[in-house]
Symmetry: C2
């Protein structure tokens, strides 16, 4: 059986993307798959699809806060709400962060472990420790924690402002739009040459069914506690 290619389109501004990212990273060696992390820009997806942030409906916003807390506990992801989610998500946004992460993706030739680690460190800042992700110093700190050297961080920060990296982020976002994405996380499973798409961090059991794998809960190394 050849390994299935599974692409995960995500943006660190999206807390549900973090949950989906951690679950798929945990399944890297559990499912017979090649996981491709695809950092993209959620703002571009929302604009292209005409979708609106769910919290625009007040009851949905209240629910999501509770839902995220429960899911984070169940999935064992240290997610905590920033003190001012509106400011963080809509005013400050994630454009510099996603350009930096795109530079990491471009620089790293294969495997994606560095991309995984940098993405996680940036997520921890915005969605766990309530720290900035827009300033170069913030991204530098995340990069160092992820295992980059000071000189690598400097190079990537420079790259992240270059036209090729800006274009690459646009291109990845366009690829998600081409798959008819309307939000993140957005997962594309390539099965028998056909793409099957899944939105959200709540379709893994269904995804397992569709790709012929087993769902062992969000912590596959501790399946008995979940099932």
């Amino acid at each position: 059986m050849s390994r299935k290619v599974i692409e995960l389109f995500y943006d660190v501004v999206s807390p549900y993307s973090w949950l989906g990212f951690e679950v798929l990273c945990r399944y890297r060696n559990v499912w017979n798959m090649e996981l491709k992390l695809r950092p993209a820009f959620l703002g571009g997806i929302m604009q292209a699809s005409g979708n609106k942030p769910p919290a625009m409906v007040p009851n949905k916003g209240l629910y999501m806060a509770k839902d995220l807390n429960r899911l984070a506990s169940y999935m064992n992801v240290p997610l905590r709400h920033p003190s001012d989610p509106f400011e963080v998500m809509f005013n400050k946004g994630s454009l510099p962060a996603m350009r930096f992460i795109t530079a990491v993706a471009e620089k790293e030739k294969d495997g994606g472990r560095l991309l995984e680690n940098v993405s996680r460190e940036v997520w921890k800042r915005i969605w766990s420790t309530d720290q900035d992700i827009c300033e170069p110093a913030s991204l530098s700190e995340a990069g160092l924690k992820a295992g980059l050297s000071s000189s690598e961080v400097e190079e990537l920060l420079g790259l992240s402002k270059s036209q090729p990296i800006k274009d690459k982020l646009k291109q990845t976002t366009q690829e998600a739009i081409n798959y008819e994405a309307f939000g993140f996380p957005f997962v594309v499973c390539h099965i028998d040459g056909k793409p099957q798409v899944f939105f959200g961090s709540d379709r893994f059991e269904l995804m397992a069914y569709c790709i012929g794998e087993k769902w062992l809960g969000p912590q596959p190394d501790k399946p008995t506690s979940n099932l």
Copy 2:
């Protein structure tokens, strides 16, 4: 351990509600719970919460059609899309059907098996065999299939037009609004005297974790095929 009360607010116009309904009905005797079926009016929820039908975002509508097909297959629910979903969901709607189902709920004193069967037969018409659910003859046919006698159906059709039944449907809808519902299915689990709410048909694994029960997949009588 005392039985947990779990309330399911639903409307037959909602296909995701049907999936959630079938899963919870299958768990009636698997989880230590008292399942309370709460037929309500989705139109009232959408208006009160300011929510919009998801298919208003075209990519979301395209995705939902595929998502529902896959989920129906996985969950073993014979869901099929009506030929004109817009006409069925937004022009014709479910008000007469939900009043009829409310009359069944009011007439039946406890257990809810008749309510379960009638709801399912109405769902089959709108979301499986593409048949009308607005005309009295349509509801009558569903009621007969669900095991009601002709005279019971006649009585319930009469009741469904009465003010007390109209008021009861409004009241149940208002109860869902009081729990900050913004769509259906909406599940309220009463745990240690506190309500915990779950939106959608994709939170059962999380729900099991929250209420201290085991998730055995959408077909708990066939767990090995799912896990």
